[in-house]
C-alpha cells in the first residue's frame, strides 16, 4: 500500500504505535533509573504521582505496543480494503476494552524466567561498566527485558484478535455476496 493512499485509520494507528513505544520506553527508563527523583525536584506532587504509576504505565504501554504491532502486521496480510478496515477497527476496539486484562496476563507471563541466569548477567554488566554504572545498567536491562517480554506476549494476543476480527469481517461480507450470487443465477 502506497504511503499516500493509506486510509486515515492506518495513519492514526501508526502514530498511536509510535506514541505507545515512546511512552513505554520513557516509563521503563524512568523506572529503571529512578528518574522520578528529578520530577520530584521540579514538582513534588507530580514526582510522587509519577513514581506511583510509572511501573503500571510501562506495563500497559508494553501490552498496548504488542497489540498495535500485531494488529498492524495482521492488517497488512488481509486483502480487500473493506474487510481490512472492519477487521482493524474491530480489533482495535476489542484490544482497548481488553487491555487491562491483557496487561495483567502478559505481565504475569513476562515475570516468569526460564532459568536463573540473571545473576550471571549482573556480574557481566558490573565487570564491564563498574559497580555504580553497572548496577544502574543492570536495572535497565532487567526492566527492558520485562518490557519486551510483556510486549511479545501481547503481540501473540494481538494476532489472535486480528485473526478473530478478520474471520468476523469475512463472514460479515458473505450475505451481500450471497445476494449477488443468487441474483446472478
Amino acid at each position: 500500500m502506497a504511503k499516500k493512499n493509506r486510509p486515515p485509520y492506518a495513519r492514526a494507528l501508526k502514530w498511536l504505535t509510535v506514541a505507545t513505544a515512546v511512552i513505554g520506553v520513557l516509563a521503563m527508563l524512568s523506572y529503571a533509573t529512578g528518574a522520578h527523583i528529578a520530577v520530584r525536584f521540579l514538582n513534588p506532587h507530580a514526582g510522587a504521582w509519577w513514581n506511583e504509576h510509572e511501573f503500571s504505565i510501562m506495563e500497559t504501554a508494553a501490552a498496548a505496543l504488542g497489540l498495535l504491532i500485531a494488529i498492524r502486521a495482521g492488517a497488512r496480510i488481509v486483502d480487500g480494503a473493506a474487510v481490512r478496515r472492519r477487521a482493524v477497527i474491530a480489533s482495535v476496539i476489542a484490544g482497548a476494552l481488553l487491555l487491562p486484562v491483557l496487561t495483567d496476563i502478559s505481565a504475569a507471563l513476562a515475570r516468569m524466567g526460564w532459568n536463573a541466569s540473571s545473576g550471571a548477567i549482573f556480574d557481566r554488566v558490573i565487570s564491564l561498566a563498574g559497580y555504580s554504572i553497572g548496577s544502574i545498567l543492570d536495572k535497565v536491562v532487567i526492566a527492558g527485558i520485562y518490557f519486551l517480554k510483556t510486549a511479545a506476549f501481547s503481540l501473540l494476543a494481538g494476532f489472535a484478535l486480528i485473526a478473530v476480527a478478520s474471520a468476523a469481517s469475512i463472514a460479515a461480507a458473505v450475505p451481500a455476496s450471497r445476494r449477488s450470487e443468487a441474483s446472478s443465477r
Binding site: A73, G74, I77, V78, D79, G80, V83, A87, I105, A108, L109, M112, G113, W114, N115, A116, A152, F153, L155, L156, A157, F159, A160, L161, I162, A163, V164, S166, A167, A168, S169, I170, A171, A173, V174, S177, S180, E181, S184
Partner: protein, 172 residues
C-alpha cells in the same frame, strides 16, 4: 510427587482441566479442518463437480473454514496463555513453540484473509482463470500450516511429558 503444573488425579472437574480441554479441542478443530479440506474435500470436489458448481462450493467452504480455523487459532492462544500461567514456567522450548504459533497465525491469516478473499472476489461471476493458481497456493499454505501445527503438537508433548524439560521450566 507430580511435577508443578500437573493435573492432580482427583480433580476431574476443574478450571485447569476445562482450559486444557478447550486448548486441545481448538487444536483438533484447526488441524482437522485443514487436513479434511486438503485431503478429502478438494480432491472429491475436483472429481465430482463441474467447474461452476465446484467454484460455488469452494467459495462457501473457504469462507466458513476460514472463520472456523482463525477462531480456533485465537482460542488456542488464549487458552495457551492460561495453560502457561497454570504451569508456572517458561522454557526455551516454549519460546520456540510461541514463535511457531505466531508464524502459524500469520500463515492462516494469509491463507484465508488474503488468498481466500481474493478467490472470493475473482470468482464472484463464476470460474475465472486467475482462481486456479490461487487455489493451488491456498492448498500449499494449508499444508504448511498443518505441518507446523503438527510440529507444535510435538513440542507440546515435550513440554508436558518430558520430566527434564518440565523441571527446567518450573525451576527458574
Amino acid at each position: 510427587m507430580p511435577p508443578p503444573g500437573a493435573i492432580q488425579p482427583h480433580t476431574m472437574l476443574s478450571l485447569r482441566l476445562a482450559v486444557l480441554f478447550v486448548h486441545v479441542g481448538a487444536v483438533i478443530v484447526a488441524l482437522g479442518g485443514s487436513l479434511f479440506s486438503t485431503f478429502a474435500l478438494t480432491p472429491v470436489l475436483a472429481e465430482e463437480l463441474e467447474p461452476p458448481a465446484r467454484i460455488r462450493v469452494v467459495r462457501r467452504v473457504i469462507r466458513r473454514l476460514g472463520a472456523i480455523v482463525l477462531t480456533a487459532l485465537a482460542v488456542l492462544i488464549v487458552t495457551g496463555f492460561l495453560n502457561v500461567l497454570y504451569f508456572g514456567g517458561i522454557s526455551a522450548l516454549l519460546a520456540v513453540k510461541l514463535v511457531l504459533v505466531a508464524v502459524v497465525i500469520a500463515l492462516a491469516l494469509y491463507q484465508y484473509a488474503n488468498l481466500g478473499v481474493r478467490i472470493w472476489r475473482l470468482s464472484a461471476d463464476g470460474p475465472a482463470p486467475e482462481v486456479a493458481p490461487l487455489l493451488a497456493r491456498l492448498r500449499r499454505v494449508g499444508m504448511i500450516v498443518a505441518c507446523l501445527v503438527l510440529l507444535i503438537v510435538y513440542l507440546s508433548l515435550g513440554l508436558s511429558r518430558v520430566p527434564s524439560i518440565i523441571v527446567a521450566a518450573t525451576a527458574g
